[in-house]
Assembly symmetry: D2
């Protein structure tokens, strides 16, 4: 990370009971390079305070509002104030919070999707680019070493020209909202159009699928045809969506996401078919990358081996056979963004190749959501990908 001290982190959101905030903190803590020193953990000041105490944060640096936090942290001496903040709040607040901290001079790591609307996303992009600050978006699945290996295989020409991409992301947890499934309450702000935006399922996980496919293949969507469905009665947004895709350059794609795929857990999978060979990766079995080619034995590439690309090796922590998983991949986004942030706070010129998802990925994701919803409401077959 090239800094003589730990990087100082602040957090917005992630109070008691929050799932993704805890994941961000574990990801940040894993490598012993980052310390959490400040936060505004909840819009409720009491909850923020209690959460800060849980995390052993100095109470003076547990804030009641993010605006207060940005102002007071900015006012601290350079050897005390946070180097970056992590934003782990709901979709409709990302823009304002990120804008506030960027403009106050902080680097930012933000949960996905980037914003409430594509328009917000584009405005934020302008702000970020002008600022020269680091902005990372936690499309965490691209943090897996074998996903990085997959990208390297595409880049190196091993796959040849890509003909077809199949990416799928079925989850089934929402089925518990059906009568008799006994799943208890599901946090459903994601189903609230005023908080989540114009899509639930496609925004929450469809964007992960889209980002993963683009990260590995480098392909850009030309146009798509989408259908969105709502299977759980009474919900205002989609809980399932299917797309056919035309990529620029002629490749074809299938992308789908679902929260009602009963019994599936977090079953993100991708297959990329090329003229030279094909590859296949499964998030629930993340240490393997399958490479296939007609008239050859299948090859199983496994994390931690010396035959892997530098990109895959640089983001591994344990030897082969000692599996890594979700938190380590998430931590790889933090690792790369922390390296960039350390460069930024040290006044070094930022590089091109830290390998974390950026504001551009976030704009793409919002454009994907808008395009999908537009197509779902259209009677024409192909809808052009939104202008970004």
């Amino acid at each position: 990370m090239n800094l003589k001290r730990k990087l100082r982190m602040g957090m917005i959101g992630g109070g008691r009971g929050a799932f993704i905030g805890t994941v961000h903190r574990m990801a940040a803590a894993l490598d012993g390079q980052i310390e959490l020193v400040a936060g505004c953990f909840s819009a409720n000041p009491e909850k923020s305070k209690a959460s800060g105490a849980d995390l052993f944060i100095n109470p003076a640096r547990v804030y009641s509002t993010y605006q207060e936090m940005a102002a007071k942290e900015a006012a601290l001496p350079a050897d005390q104030r946070v180097d970056f903040v992590s934003i782990v709040t709901r979709n409709n607040t990302h823009y304002a919070i990120a804008k506030c901290f960027i403009e106050a001079g902080f680097n930012v790591i933000c949960d996905k999707p980037l914003a409430f609307t594509l328009d917000e996303a584009k405005k934020l992009r302008t702000i970020v680019k002008k600022s020269g600050k680091v902005f990372a978006l936690t499309h965490n699945y691209t943090g897996y070493p074998m996903v990085k290996e997959a990208r390297e295989m595409v880049r190196s020409g091993k796959i040849g020209k890509i003909m077809k991409v199949v990416v799928e992301y079925p989850q089934g947890y929402a089925i518990t909202a059906l009568e008799g499934k006994g799943g208890g309450k599901i946090s459903n702000w994601r189903m609230d159009p005023n908080v989540a935006g114009i899509s639930n399922c496609m925004a929450d996980i469809g964007t992960h699928a889209e980002n993963l496919a683009r990260y590995i293949t480098g392909l850009e969507i030309d146009s798509l045809v989408a259908e969105l469905s709502t299977f759980i009665p009474g919900r205002p947004l989609d809980d399932d969506g299917n797309c056919l895709i035309r990529y620029k350059g002629g490749a074809k794609g299938i992308l789908y996401a679902s929260q009602v795929s009963n019994g599936d857990e977090n079953n993100l999978n991708i297959r990329v078919y090329g003229t030279k060979s094909s590859l296949e990766w499964h998030q629930e079995d993340p240490n393997e990358l399958i490479v296939k080619e007609v008239n050859k034995p299948q090859s199983i590439y496994r994390r931690g081996n010396s035959y892997l690309s530098p990109a895959a090796q640089a983001f591994s922590r344990t030897p082969f056979g000692h599996p890594e998983a979700f938190i380590e991949a998430f931590a790889n986004v933090y690792k790369a963004a922390a390296t960039a942030s350390a460069d930024e706070v040290s006044g070094r010129k930022l590089k091109k190749d830290y390998d974390f998802p950026t504001i551009d990925d976030g704009v793409e994701g919002m454009a994907f959501i808008e395009t999908v919803v537009k197509s779902a409401n259209s009677s024409s077959k192909w809808t052009k990908f939104a202008k970004i």
Copy 2:
């Protein structure tokens, strides 16, 4: 089979070097209930004769044309002539040959797709229904015991209301036609519109996927949106196709088939998601059926066990752990069709539940091909399923 003798079979097509003819013969032979006694194995009389000799057929019953075969066999005494014929020729000949044998009074097993056009298929249906003869179509994948178990799970209500169906059939063999893949000649009559019809890939294997989904779920397609592609340069027909499907009753589907999915072999898979539970089956691992439900351990149902439905048990030959595979599943189509044929030649009333694919499946398959091609050429989003 309820006959005091072996059932007598004739074959049209399947001469030296033919893949599918050999499969049909192994499937017919497996249970020791059927004997091959006559055939017209090739449009080339010399090749037909040589093939008949390979198969130890009485030369007097090896014919030069199928018309000759139908006429001469029909003229034989009842205790000698064939009880049924298997048609394993190219798509564009199925109609005429099947018509000829049905009208000559024989039961028929025919390879898929049923015919050259939907129109032919409907005409053949009229002929078959009027004849009272047995007509079976070798959509062999529904012969697998665990596919039958899957259907029973849907029928029994175990799956609940079906919300989503994902069926995929990627093969990669055609990639060898690309320069430098060294795959040698690929029999490419399937790429010839004058022999195969209006589709190659969707007709050859897309119809299997469609049939499998319908067999298990019982769902009928309301409308679909399809894209067909040709990735191998110079080919006149599709080698890859993707569809989104709307089923009657509200379920959604994804169906795709491909011959250019580099390194995939015969990777037919289906997932059916219901409100109560979901199921998943993989043709290349056919002895297992995976059942999933939120908040429950996954269940792996395995062929040959006493906990399976009678439908699955009746079509198994070996105990659990002694795997069965492609030929046994194919033989199950023969087993069911032979039972029906034995009833027919014995003058018994035909039953409803032999459990083999029928002329109706064939018409559905041809309608599927026509709908897919129509959609692929349309700029509208949804194309209604062809009238059958």
Copy 3:
């Protein structure tokens, strides 16, 4: 097979309700090269007759005793009498029946284990070798194409020097004999020392494991240490056994077999570790052979591909991705033995390399049983492999 007619087969044993007799018949029928024309299907003449009728055998050739069958078949003209017989009776009868038919001039296929005792096995070996007849033993698991591929890999040097062999054969079906497991009657002649011999589990399936390991590796056992257990109360013979093995040349082995491994079906697996690479094969997933080597991606070799050895390709029937399984492997023993028998009845000199298990495999198997039982009763650590 190089014969201008089907090979004629007789069967001893395998009457109504017999599992293994049915498997032998399916294996014989599959390729359309063999016809079953005679038999003595049961020691009970009525049952033999009824079974023959089920199988559409000419009643004149359904016999009441095997002695009668041998005599009468031998008296038939050469163009009518059986070319070989299949013996699918209980262990304690194999010797006498095989001796009778060999001495009457017939080729023989016999189920395993070869005999009731090692002594019988050696005597039968003398008879067979003197006769010049074909004698095949149905250690069917070596009929799998990917097992043949494994052997070729060892022979070609790809594996290097073998250091370790782990072969395991857990079944769990016998657990149903425990109270409350509701498994109904288990045919338990295998537990009767007067019928099965000195071992149940090791004789029935341990010999398969031993044969599989020797087939693939070519290694000979120098000495072993074994423990036999009987977990199902009241049984006189072993239902579970574990061995450590020292092979000649320095390799080490672990072999175990069990009938009380609750929930395992027919879970025969082998791993062979060499200095250059290692291989792994699973009977319940028989179309794959896994090849592993430090610092290299794992390779999955799959049946039906052109990159496989001629040995594996010669015993495949369907293209890649169209799985073959238990019956096809069993049929490969028949295919090879039938080729040899066709040569024998045609007066051609027998070859060395038909690739089916022979009388020598049978003697080895009986020696293995004797050595294991001797070790189990010994307080010394290592017991030398019995003299054969």
Copy 4:
């Protein structure tokens, strides 16, 4: 953890380039409950200092010897000194270091195996028990949630009476020491009898296998027969070992470990067969636990689900489908030991059920090593388990 501050940790060993020290630090850091504040990272004072700087440790608390560290830390005020130390040095130093810190009043987490000899282990046990301090041994594989679930299944009676245990731990990394495998240097202090003790492979990983089996089953070894081998020429200790085991109460076992299983990575697997059901767990696929029972579908239990036992749920961090792996399991040892240490430093009475491996596990492991080596050198079949 029930402490109003982070727990303070010191480390002995784990300097630059050390694999296991890094793992311990990640495990300690993951949950944000522990801070590393002191250490003696190497026997080389310069390296210790540099390593401390890498880790952002206050240089005043980076020590040159562990004795200095114990003395100076003990002299610090209670609100500054470390609460526990982690010992991640070589086997032959564990005893002296642990003794030193325990006697200086610190809680201890120690890498395995516990000591250089069984005798040392027993002496350390006396010291620990007398001290009242927390002593945890990082048999990390028992930290996996699904291993805890397995133990709960045994304890709850779901498995019934255990009949058989098969535990295997093949690695292949040592094969790179063979000529031409190009694996570079392998740290081989484990092959040095003066550092590692009387065994290499069995001490390093065989003890993990033994511990895992005992943790899940609760079974105690009555006697065993072992063979140790050295396949890599020139090595003084075992690189491969196989055992048959008799457990008290009648169950039988197979245990093996290897470092020359070419191409295996860290392939620790266990199968436990009981009268009611059986279970199977694979370290390289750690989020699943397979439960099998005759006449029932197989069940796959998956981490993170609400149907799991409290024991499994308490040690999970992410929802189902978001896989956890090696580091999280390792962190679970730290989590449990930290909870105990927090109780100890807070003056609360220690509980029985924190669920981490203890000094007793360490003594058992050393007894296992001694018994295995004794058996390997014996010509008698069964060697009684060493007195502990």
